[in-house]
Amino acid sequence: MHTYDYISDEVLIERFKEGDEHAFDLLVRRYEQKVYQLAYRLTNNPDDAADVAAETFLRMYNSLKRFRGDAQLSTWLYRVVSNVFFDFRKRESRHQHIPLEIQTEDSEEPMELPVEDESVDIMGHALQQEQRRVLMEVIQQLPEYQRVMVVLFHIEERSYEEIAQILGLPLGTIKSRLNRARTALRQLLEPYRELFGVETSPTVGKPQEASDAL
């Protein structure tokens, strides 16, 4: 398989347009991890993530013949993942949907606690695991659009420009939406201040707390 690593996306896309199905297979292999990763971070569920990934590549198959290469394939795929995610959520919400209780225990793989390690490191590791769990959980509580913004910008670390391309929105809109998403996320994390190394605010109840709401 590695011999194909030298073949650029453009060449593979051309081959696919000429009817070479193997080229499509290679493109899927090249991007499936990235696509799945984004899908997983949006859905926080391995099964849903695989569904989103599969649908994303189906859409790629259907529209690759029209792909003109004015965006990077990865950017374009991110866009499709977001669209598929929105579509799936819309479909879900049309059905009667009772939100599941958020699982608060045992959702992570068992932590390894090496005996030799210093306790500080163990604490650090455990803290980080807990932070990640809480973050992923809280992200799921954001409205879809805000969730996509946070995931793309803060986890996938895409630039404003690329996110604008991915979502097909003006840069200004991206910035303002990201701001709202961050504010919302920060509010949702208020009960977990200590987990993020910040002691509970001694000024709770004081007038300037209102400014948090922005």
Binding site: G19, E21, F24, D25, V28, R29, E32, Q33, Y36, Q37, Y40, R41, P46, A49, A50, A53, A54, E55, F57, L58, Y61, N62, Q128, Q131, R132, L135, M136, V150, H154, I155, E157, N179, R182, L185, R186, L189, R193, F196, G197, V198, E199, S201, T203, Q208, S211, D212, L214
Partner: protein, 300 residues
């Protein structure tokens, strides 16, 4: 700066996207205000936690799952498009008073037939040697796994031939000429039948095929053979019975009439098409042979 203003700019400050002047003012405020300092640390810790998320490991069967989903959907959609297109093409042909024509054109390569519809890209191909003379229904596996029936005609000598399409269930109904021409030795005439199948609006297409005046009837099913046939009971004229069997078993049947058409009775339980046909033909003059993908019921 007031706390509200500072908080408004904290994310930009963390990102490093504020002007130098603003950065200094925020810095000064943070040095003086414990509350804003806490907020700053909180936000910084959140964004850092997000950026340090580990890579997600996909399930081992992800690739397979993706490819299965893609293949299944592409296949289904193409089948739908074919039906839609050929329905439309068939309707358009009828509306225009056209027949689904192919015509023979002699060129340096031998014989070529062109068709009014896009289904026939290579109507005539060089036959692999040696060939059996006759008319066959063959199925071509396409890339997406669907099977498309093709009528193939090969002769060892020059022969005039005609192909008619009979609309409706009755083989004696008025036929429509599809193709007429001369078959050349060593050449195979191929007529893709999906054009007709999709415009037929029936489970079985009835074709009349005549070579040098010898007539035979082809019953060509539209779909796929079912896995299992529970039971077939019928009492009908032979041609109707064969047509129904082609439909039930979704397998092409060729009928070479022998002048008379007997009334046949069939009561088959979990029978294969061959068993059903044999039962059907017991006591008649007709013989059963295999002809390519089709079964041939021949009175000769």
């Amino acid at each position: 700066m007031r706390c509200e203003q500072v908080k408004e700019f904290l994310n930009a400050y963390i990102e490093g996207s504020v002007s130098e002047a603003l950065r200094e003012r925020i810095q000064a405020h943070l040095n003086a205000c414990a509350e804003c300092r806490r907020e700053y640390r909180f936000l910084q810790s959140i964004w850092q936690g997000l950026s340090l998320m580990p890579e997600v490991v996909p399930p081992a069967n992800l690739h397979e799952r993706i490819m299965t989903h893609v293949r299944a959907n592409v296949r289904a959609r193409e089948a739908q498009q074919r039906v839609a297109f050929w329905r439309w093409a068939g309707a358009a042909a009828v509306a225009a008073g056209l027949f689904l024509m192919g015509f023979f054109v002699a060129n340096s390569d031998g014989v070529q037939a062109a068709f009014g519809f896009g289904g026939a890209k290579k109507p005539v191909v060089e036959s692999p040697q040696p060939v059996q003379a006759g008319v066959f229904i063959e199925y071509r596996e396409t890339k997406d796994g669907s099977r498309l029936p093709v009528l193939e005609a090969r002769m060892n000598r020059e022969a005039t031939a005609e192909l008619h399409y009979v609309a409706g269930a009755e083989p004696s109904a008025k036929p429509t000429l599809i193709w007429q021409g001369t078959l050349l030795p060593g050449k195979t005439l191929e007529i893709p039948l999906q054009t007709l199948l999709q415009s037929a609006n029936e489970r079985v297409l009835t074709l009349w095929w005549s070579v040098e005046g010898r007539k035979r009837v082809l019953f060509v099913p539209v779909g796929y053979p079912p896995a299992r046939i529970a039971s077939v009971r019928l009492q009908a004229k032979l041609s109707d019975a064969l047509r129904q069997l082609a439909s039930v078993y979704q397998t092409p049947i060729e009928w070479v009439p022998n002048g008379e058409e007997p009334l046949v009775v069939l009561d088959a339980q979990e029978a294969s098409l061959e068993e059903a046909l044999r039962q059907l033909l017991v006591g008649s003059e007709y013989k059963l042979t295999r002809q390519g993908a089709a079964w041939r019921v021949s009175g000769h």
